[in-house]
């Protein structure tokens, strides 16, 4: 019976001198999954990836790949391949030789090498470039060759270290979808490292949010976005309004929170306690601004400015306690509004998220 998990990290810690890059991390990666390690630079995500590849040895803990402890397996014997941030295509070899490198190391027959390289090139849509040197390719093409060079070996796990970081926005968006489709059609387990939260949300089956060498949250993209479990996750993923508040009252299914003189409401949950200090987050697109008070109104504030960003308009509101709040509106209904006018903000209590740290 084959295991449900392709990669398992068991309580791994990595120290560089006195600095702890990864701290007692546990993670199970499912077979055929597209998993993203997401976090700011220095959060330990690349170090984690390098420990799976074997370039770094964990100070403590174990890495398991396909049910085998790999501590004693050198990187060149591991059935994983990496797409490097800088691509690292061999400059002295042409496209064909680059892609064939891994197969030749395994002493694959000449005809098979030829065929598999062609297929890999077909997958990345660069069939006509076999004789080019990496230098003669654009950044996007080099990226595709780097992917082809890795997947041609049929690895059990493909590790990708910010592979799209050097591409421009449009190409990056296109490559995100291509990579996702590639992963679905090949069925290879992908572990993807990025600091770009939008990229993570677009591509991943599951996202691991990391901070200071630890996992903050593991979940489906919408869980990470809609139900962040910590201030760090809420803040890091997307834009949000975070309020420091105190639980002031329970009424029915709702809890009332006091944000320094302003009261808002959120669904009650079992962990909340009276007079406890917590954070509440509400996404800008979940809130609504009106010029008149309605029965849903939760807050009132003064209109400060609006920023047109194309698909939406961001409305900045100053609350009575001096804090600012951002609300996104798809249609700009606030024609003629002037700075200083009073406006009303509402949202569904269910759309707000409360967490402790």
């Amino acid at each position: 019976m084959t295991s449900e998990y392709m990669v398992q990290l068991k309580n791994i810690t990595k120290k560089f001198g006195k600095d702890t890059a990864v701290n007692e991390l546990n993670l199970d990666v499912k077979v055929g999954e597209f998993l993203t390690l997401l976090g700011p630079s220095g959060c330990g995500k690349t170090t984690t990836l390098r420990m799976i590849a074997g370039f770094e040895k964990p100070t403590e803990g174990e890495v398991w790949i396909d049910e085998k402890q790999v501590a004693k397996i050198e990187p060149y014997k591991r059935e994983v391949n990496t797409v490097f941030q800088s691509y690292s295509l061999f400059p002295h070899m042409n496209v064909f030789e680059n892609i064939a490198f891994g197969l030749k190391m395994k002493k694959t027959g000449k005809d098979e090498v030829e065929e598999r390289v062609r297929n890999a090139l077909k997958l990345v849509q660069l069939e006509d470039y076999v004789n080019r040197k990496p230098k003669q390719l654009s950044g996007g093409q080099q990226q595709r060759i780097a992917i082809a060079r890795a997947i041609v070996n049929n690895p059990k796990v493909l590790l990708l270290d910010e592979p799209l970081g050097a591409l421009d926005l449009k190409l990056r968006k296109q490559m995100q979808l291509e990579l996702k489709h590639l992963q679905q059609s090949l069925g290879i387990t992908f572990i993807y490292v990025t600091h770009d939260q939008e990229e993570a949300l677009t591509m991943s089956d599951r996202i691991v949010v990391m901070n200071e060498g630890k996992i903050e949250q593991v979940g489906l993209p919408h869980e990470i976005y809609e139900k962040p479990v910590s201030k760090f996750v809420a803040d890091f993923i997307g834009e949000t309004n975070i309020f420091e508040c105190v639980v002031s009252e329970f009424k029915g299914d709702y809890a009332y929170l006091d944000i320094k003189g302003v009261t808002v409401v959120t669904p009650k949950n079992d962990t909340l306690q009276l007079d406890e200090s917590v954070y509440m987050s509400i996404r800008p697109e979940k809130a609504k601004v009106t010029l008149t008070k309605t029965q849903d109104t939760l807050l009132s504030g003064t209109f400060k400015e609006k920023i047109y960003v194309g698909s939406i308009t961001k409305i900045i509101i100053e609350l009575p306690n001096g804090r600012e709040m951002v609300v996104n509106e798809v249609e700009d209904d606030l024609i003629g509004i002037k700075s200083g006018n009073e406006v009303y903000v509402s949202w569904q209590p269910e759309d707000s998220v409360v967490f402790k740290g």
């Binding site: 060149y76 990496t82 040197k133």
Partner: protein
């Protein structure tokens, strides 16, 4: 634009002037003298003559000496390469000891080669340190002839020119992007395969540079043969010096110099052609 070009040339002018005075003018002079007529005792008659070249080509001695010089220098260069590469590789990976080790490689430059070769006489001599030691431990009964052989010449050249090989190779290994090595390892190449398929090809520019700057001075050196063979063996450098200073035959000396220069350029060219045939663009 024109202003910038002028500025560029004026910035270059000191070095251009230097090259003109100390490289171009001497070569032209030597070339001209090689085609003049000898008056005997160092005099030059400015009449066109190919006599010096005829002497050089017709006497098998000169061609033999030039051939020997190339063979010995080439052997020394190859030995230097085999010694220097592992050493340079070691230094490049020595972390905090790097600078100290490079300093140790450089220190011999602070002393003239002549002086350093005297040390080898003390070592290699019939009554020298090595023979003395071997006799004392009973390995040999009669002293070995270590000096006066081509091996001593090659040894002297290896000793003298090794740093010329180490430094460019070190710098190319040092500058090698380590992610290429990780990429190779990631793709299933063990350390030995990685070394031969990635490290060596990517440090080839350093190897080439080291080869040229070792071979060129080695082929024309004359102090090594003077000191380690007591002038019993000669290289083309000795012959040229003697032509100028002892025979007072400037035409022959010049002609041999020109021949040597052509042969060196030719062998460097052949060597580069041979090692970079596959990847000209990458190397140049």
């Amino acid at each position: 634009m024109i202003k910038n070009i002028r500025l560029a040339y004026s910035m270059l002018s000191p070095s251009l002037l230097w090259l003109l005075l100390f490289l171009v003018v001497p070569i032209v002079m030597v070339t001209v003298i090689s085609f003049t007529t000898s008056e005997g005792y160092g005099g030059i008659i400015y009449e066109f003559s190919t006599h010096a070249y005829e002497t050089a080509f017709l006497s098998s001695m000169y061609l033999k000496v030039i051939w020997n010089s190339i063979v010995w220098a080439f052997s020394a260069t190859v030995i230097c390469l085999l010694l220097a590469y592992p050493f340079a590789y070691f230094i490049a990976h020595a972390g905090k000891w790097k600078n100290l080790l490079i300093l140790l490689v450089m220190i011999p430059f602070w002393t003239n080669l002549l002086v350093r070769l005297y040390a080898w006489i003390i070592l290699l001599n019939g009554e020298g340190v090595i023979n003395h030691f071997l006799q004392n431990i009973g390995l040999i009964s009669e002293p070995l002839t270590l000096m006066y052989t081509p091996y001593a010449v090659i040894l002297g050249m290896v000793y003298g020119f090794l740093p010329f090989m180490i430094l460019p190779i070190y710098s190319s290994i040092e500058q090698l992007d380590k992610t290429y090595l990780e990429a190779a390892e990631d793709l299933g190449a063990n350390p030995v395969k990685t070394f031969f398929t990635v490290t060596i090809p990517l440090t080839l520019p350093g190897i080439l540079a080291g080869f040229i700057i070792t071979f060129v001075p080695a082929v024309s050196v004359f102090v090594v043969t003077d000191l380690l063979t007591g002038s019993k063996l000669v290289m083309v450098g000795n012959v040229i010096r003697d032509a100028f200073l002892i025979e007072m035959n400037w035409q022959l000396g010049s002609a041999l110099s020109i021949l040597l220069m052509i042969l060196v350029l030719l062998s460097v060219f052949i060597f580069m052609k041979f090692t970079s045939s596959k990847d000209k663009k990458f190397l140049i």
